[in-house]
Amino acid sequence: MRNPLSETIVTIKPSGIRKFFDLVSEMEDAISLGVGEPDFDTPWHIRDEGIYSLEKGRTFYTSNAGLKELKIEIVKYIERFQGVSYDADHEVIVTVGGSEAIDIALRAMVDPGDEVLIPQPSYVSYEPCAVLAGAKPVIIELKEENEFRLTAKELREAITDKTKILILPFPNNPTGAIMERKDLEAIAEIIREKDLFVISDEIYAELTYKDKHVSIVSLPGMQERTVLINGFSKAYAMTGWRLGYACAPREIMEQMLKIHQFAIMCAPTTSQYAAVEALRNGDGDVAMMRESYNQRRRFLMHAFKEMGLTCFEPYGAFYVFPCIKEFGMTSDEFANRLLQEEKVAVVPGTAFGDCGEGFLRISYAYSIDNLKIALEKINAFITRLRKEQK
C-alpha cells in the first residue's frame, strides 16, 4: 500500500501538552493548575440567549462571514475599546474560535518560502499552522529579562528578505506578558519600514491588570497591515462555544473568507446569537471576572515571593510563568516529579517552545481556595528539593 500520509503533516510534532495531559488524566486525584480556560461558567444571560435562539428555531447556517448583527456588535466593540473602525460588511469574519482565525489568516497570506516570525514561548498552534500553510516558521526567543516582551532589537535580528508576517501573541499565553503602547510603537516602526504584516492574536485583550490593552491596529498605519484576532472564549468564559473573530483589510479578508467558506461554512449559529448578547450586555461580567483573576494573580505572586521562587510580574491573561532553573532540572522533569510526588499538575514551559525551558506555566483560572491547596504542595516540594541540593 502507498503511504497514505502527507509528508508535511508527519513532520509536525503533536502538541507537547498532549503528553502531559495523558499523564495527568491517569491520576485521578491530581490537583491541576494546568488549565488554559476560565473557571467561570458562561454568564447566565449569555447562555440564556443561546437557549432562546434554539427555542426560536434559529438552527440554520448563518452567512459565511457570520450574523450581520454580530459583526456590527464586533465593530462597535473594537471602536469603543481601541478607537479603530472596521467595515462590518467587508472586514470582519466570525470564526470557530480564535484558532481558526490564526489558521485562515496564515493560509490567506503566505506562499512557500515566506518566513513567519513567531515569538515564543507562545500558544501551541502558530508554528504548525505556519508549516501547514507552507511557510517557514522563524522563532524569536523571548527573554525573561524583558518580561517576555518582544523588543525591537529581537525583531530586527530575525528579519530577512523572506520575512512576511509577524505573529504578535499578546497578552501572552503562557507567560502572561503584555505589550504596552511604547513597546508596540517600536515594533510598528519596523513593520512599516520593512513592509511586513502582523497577525495580532489578542484573545486575552480583556484580561490585563495594568493599563487597558493597546492593540497594534490603533497605531498609525498599522490597521492596513494587521489581521486582528479576538474571540469570546477568555473574556466571556465561552471556550466550549467555539467562537472567535478576525478583522482585517478587505483585500486580505476576501481571501480568508474563501478558506472559511470552503472549510467551515459558518461558525455555530447558537454561539453567534449568544455572542451578540455577550457584546451588548457583558461588560459587567468581564469586569467582575477580570477583578477576580487579578486578586488571584496577586495572591500567587505573593506566595511565590514567600517561597523564594523567581517570577517576573505578569500583567495579562491568567498565567504566571515562574523560573525553576535553581533546581537544576528541566521543566519536564520538574513538572513530572511535582505530579508524581505532590499530585499537582502544571505545564512545563517547553510545551510552548524550546525557550520555555526552565519555566512552568501555572494557571490561576482556579478559586483561591484551590490555589492555596496547590501552593502548599508546591511549597513542600521545592522545600524538599532545596534540602536535596544541599
Binding site: 488549565v35 480556560e37 477583578e291 488571584r296 496577586r298 495572591f299
Partner: protein, 160 residues
C-alpha cells in the same frame, strides 16, 4: 477600595486582613482602617455564617409572612415594624411595595410554634389588618449561593 472589600467579604467574611491586603494589592493597615470605619458607619452590620439547617439534625422552620397594616399618623409604618422586629424569633422585616406592607421572615422550631406566633402575637397587634403565612419547603439558593448542588470542575485537566 471599599467596594472591592465589600464584594469579597460579602462572600467570605472569614478572610483575614492579611489575605485581603495581598489579593487587593493594598497595605494591611489601610484595609484594617477601612473595615473599622465601615463597622462604625454601620455599612458592615455583622459577620454571619450561612448554614444549611436542612443538613443538620436541628429542626427548624422558616416562614415568610405577608402583613397588611394600617399606617399610623406621623409614624407611618415604623412603629408597628418596630413592634414586630423586637420579637427575637423574627429574622427580618421589610417594608414592601405592592399588595401588602411588611414582609416578615421568621425562624421557628416547628410549624406549630410559627403558627402560634402568628395567631397569638402578630395578628393581634394593633394596626395589623391581615397576615398570610408561607412556609419554606426547600431552599435552592440563598444569599447567592446554590445549596442544592456542589461546584464541580468539569474542565479537562490540562489544556493549552
Amino acid at each position: 477600595m471599599r467596594e472591592q472589600i465589600l464584594a469579597i467579604i460579602e462572600k467570605n467574611s472569614r478572610i483575614n486582613i492579611k489575605e485581603l491586603a495581598i489579593i487587593l494589592g493594598a497595605e494591611e493597615i489601610d484595609i484594617a482602617n477601612e473595615l473599622k470605619a465601615m463597622e462604625e458607619e454601620g455599612v458592615i452590620c455583622g459577620y454571619h455564617t450561612m448554614i444549611d439547617w436542612e443538613k443538620t439534625s436541628i429542626e427548624k422552620v422558616t416562614a415568610l409572612i405577608e402583613v397588611r397594616i394600617t399606617p399610623q399618623r406621623g409614624q407611618g409604618y415604623d412603629n408597628i415594624a418596630e413592634r414586630i422586629y423586637k420579637y427575637p424569633e423574627v429574622n427580618s422585616v421589610y417594608l414592601i411595595s405592592g399588595g401588602y406592607d411588611l414582609l416578615v421572615t421568621l425562624d421557628g422550631k416547628s410549624l406549630k410554634a410559627v403558627s402560634s406566633f402568628v395567631s397569638d402575637k402578630l395578628s393581634t397587634l394593633e394596626g395589623v389588618l391581615s397576615t398570610a403565612t408561607h412556609f419554606i419547603l426547600k431552599k435552592y439558593k440563598d444569599h447567592g449561593t446554590i445549596l442544592t448542588r456542589k461546584y464541580e470542575d468539569t474542565r479537562e485537566k490540562v489544556t493549552p
